[in-house]
Symmetry: none
Subunit: 528 residues, 2 copies
């Protein structure tokens, strides 16, 4: 079986996504990560389309890559010119990539309506451009845009465009599902037809508009394709591109077509998350293979089965992609969940220890009140430590007052909080403003605590979620607040529940500070 080559276009097609824009430095960092991951080709950008992409090709030459080839992307020459005179083609060569990829039109409808040239002229564009590029660069890839739609509309012409690329010496011909509308059973049938007429190695470029991009890519491999284009996390225009984070593990672990080493595959989750981080996007919890919930188990029956035989409810071993099995604490949880959690937190807990039963009852009681520890694992750890009596008392809040005031003609209310905090024997009484009552309270409490615990300064709140648990009483319902905090090293979630939103927020904030202080203390203990 032929080796499968992964071609990543996160830096080009990925940035077509509505919410993604990378700095040149980010792009270089991502390219290095992809290289370490074992990706074979990294499409860095379209140098003919913007100066940022030109800068990337300059910068990436200064970096030593282990194995990945850098590809530059562009289009076939314009009509009524020669490749040598075409600015876009020249910019591609000037970028000095290892590989040049150009796209051309396959669909007769597009040739007539978008290019507005004759079908014959389009074949010349494809042939000319590739033949010229082939003289200037080692490797040339041809992206057949709208291939599947074009094939369905006019198969003879679609094949003619591929033949032009083949004659010009393209090293790989990529069948693109540009609009993402093709379904998996169509992919296989069409590729089988193409392979009867084209001998050049074939590739696939799938979009996710039908939620089939990964499946289509894998079906394509099953039908003899050897080059797979996609992006990290499936980033891309509209509904995204084929997700390499789901394609790579399927090839390695399920199809016996390894595309990277086992060690590289174990970095998949880290790469996925770092790319989210650099794109400033919240990772998709439910993402296959790499998401936080991908191996999370809720039900008690599942949990005890998982612990005996992971394969009963897990399609792969999560460690293989750098992920872990997570046992969720919820109203379905039994003792085995609690013990599994304790182990995760490095807390010694025995199933026969009466404290275990106490914790279990405490949790059930809290859950009846509306608490939820999924996403608030820091609060859960604090609860266990308090039950075990191993939690240091860092501070007490003696009282607070929050005022929201709006006068006639004011654009919005002003919020101000005052707090009194006691640490050891000392009392700090201070005040702060904020955007809304919770922000004001957070600001005032930190201000008071930071004089005792300066380590709180590098803690930030990342997310604040409010869920009103309706009891049919409108604004008098029970409120659950989930807060996600973090510092340079970790992120953690805390929870508070009350019929008063300020009180619920206050509980979650206090847990967040205490968890930060606990982590800091433990790091210091380890260093001693």
């Amino acid at each position: 079986m032929s080796q499968i080559y992964l071609y990543d276009t996160t830096l080009r097609d990925g940035t077509q996504s509505e919410d993604i824009s990378f700095l040149v430095a980010d792009k270089v960092r991502i390219a290095q990560l992809l290289d370490e991951l074992g990706i074979h080709y990294i499409e860095g950008g379209w140098p003919g389309s913007n100066p940022k992409d030109i800068a990337f090709f300059k910068e990436i030459r200064k970096v030593e890559l282990k194995q990945a080839k850098i590809a530059a992307f562009g289009s076939t020459r314009r009509a009524r010119t020669t490749p040598a005179k075409d600015t876009n083609i020249r910019t591609l060569i000037q970028a000095e990539p290892d590989t040049i990829t150009i796209f051309g039109k396959t669909w007769d409808f597009h040739v007539r309506e978008a290019l507005r040239i004759s079908l014959e002229e389009n074949l010349e564009l494809i042939y000319d451009s590739l033949a010229y590029l082939k003289e200037h660069v080692d490797e040339v890839v041809y992206d057949a845009e709208h291939f599947f739609d074009g094939y369905k509309a006019n198969p003879e012409y679609a094949i003619k465009t591929l033949e032009a690329a083949e004659r010009a010496g393209a090293d790989c011909i990529v069948l693109c599902d540009t609009n993402g509308g093709t379904l998996p059973f169509e992919i296989g049938r069409i590729i089988d037809q193409v392979r009867k007429q084209i001998r050049t190695p074939l590739g696939i470029h799938a979009h996710n508009d039908s939620e089939c991009a990964v499946a289509n890519s894998l079906v394509a491999v099953e039908h003899g394709i050897v080059h797979v284009q996609g992006t990290i996390n499936g980033f891309g225009e509209r509904c995204g591109n084929a997700n390499l984070c789901s394609i790579a593990p399927a090839l390695n672990l399920k199809m016996d077509r390894p595309c990277m080493s086992e060690e590289q595959l174990r970095n998949l989750r880290i790469v996925s998350r770092t790319v989210y981080e650099l794109a400033n996007l919240v990772p998709n919890k439910h993402q296959p293979y790499v998401g936080n919930s991908a191996f999370a188990h809720k039900g008690g029956v599942h949990v005890s089965a998982i612990q005996r035989h992971p394969e009963t409810y897990e399609h792969i071993r999560p460690e293989k992609v750098g992920n872990i099995t997570r046992v969720l604490v919820s109203d379905l949880s039994g003792k085995s969940n609690i013990l599994a959690k304790a182990e995760e937190f490095n807390i010694n807990l025995d199933s026969k220890d009466p404290v275990t039963q106490e914790i279990l009852e405490n949790i059930k009681d809290l859950e009846n009140q509306g608490f939820q520890f999924e996403g608030a694992e820091a609060s859960f750890e604090l609860l266990m430590r308090r039950a075990l009596g191993t939690m240091r008392h860092f501070f007490s809040v003696l009282g607070f007052r929050v005022i929201d005031y709006r006068g006639h003609g004011d654009a919005r209310p002003l919020s101000e909080a005052t707090v009194r905090v006691k640490v050891g024997g000392r009392i700090e009484h201070t005040a702060a403003e904020g955007q809304g009552p919770v922000n004001a309270l957070d600001n005032a409490m930190r201000k008071a605590l930071e004089s005792f615990y300066p380590q709180l300064k590098d803690m930030r709140l990342f997310d604040y979620k409010v869920r009103v648990l309706p009891t049919g009483k409108g604004t008098a319902s029970v409120t659950r607040v989930l807060i996600e905090s973090g510092d340079r090293l970790a992120r953690w979630g805390t929870v508070g529940v009350s019929d008063n939103i300020i009180d619920a927020s206050y509980q979650a904030l206090v847990d967040a500070y205490q968890y930060k202080l606990l982590q800091h203390q433990e790091r210091q203990n380890r260093q001693d």
Copy 2:
């Protein structure tokens, strides 16, 4: 070709998702939406597993559904008992659903390791349970858990379990990819084998762990399956279930296997978003078919091509699923939405009226700020009436102050609000306490207004939802508050957005009172 039946399990498997928990009232509302959408079966829950699900089956019987059948889910009987004595089986019958779905073990490994019974005994469990249920309910569906993994491990035994179900009279046998590990080309091959031996209509239940759940379901249909299980938005344990919001349009628009009417399909996006809202989750912008970015075009070339020939860059017409093409230039569909809404509210509005353009721009501006009028149609109607100048000025709020105070040893903070309200020439200055700042503000404003407008006394707040719109700034993020209010005759939703939760709540409360006063006035006008 046989009719395809859609079987929704949002209310059962969907709630296995880490972050989803519905109240009984939410579940009933979702069931009604699914029924209107044309879903054939609605799996309401597992009555044997928790009291909340029992309550759902009680409540749903009070509601008139158009066509959907309600299904209850459970397992085969336990070993060493009879179906008649098995609590789980009895609870299923007591729930009085239209259809009962039970799952049983297919994979020999699970029979031995999880059930710890003999392979033969498991066949008896399956046969007994289905045969007994078949005597008590019109329709019985059998979910063959881990079917594909079981078939790969021991095809003879896997088929034997299906044969037991067939002999017992199951109306449909569902092949489950419980761990979500199966790839699309395996699905087709295995189903072809099964169909040689089983004559009962077959179904598919796919999970998304390999990012292939939608593709696997569509491939299954292509191979003769007639019953497709899934959830709205692909909600579900780990990486989710097969997403019916992507399956339904593929069946209707691409595979010529319509599963709902064209009109029902046009409600797909609304249903998707309402279910996100009820689950208190942020909709996935990039979701195929229904996401905000699904038909969003960034590139200038795309945009002009799209306007001349949408099929050049769109795999389907977005209107068919209730979505719209988003381009940066004049958005004509926006205007038609507004006109449609005006008609709904009995407001005279003409497309050439400059006020229509003003409303459109106002809405775009508000939506950029984070407003959302789905679920807040009362605020939308007030906005239109204000733009048209047909809204009576009922009152002004001159100012308010809300204080949350917590002293040392207090169980929770006390909240107190003072407000000054002006109606006509009179000013009312009053104060009230509440459970939390918003409840206090609500109480104080009503107290002030009721002296002028006693009709506000029969208005209640039914639901209060807070969504923090992530800006990465923690408690300083933008907050959107949705309030549902009602009286004996109607219910209405209002919205407020601010970086201050008190301010956002205040806006939504003021709209709620004004809408109540407007309705009251209109009723009186009609009576005159």
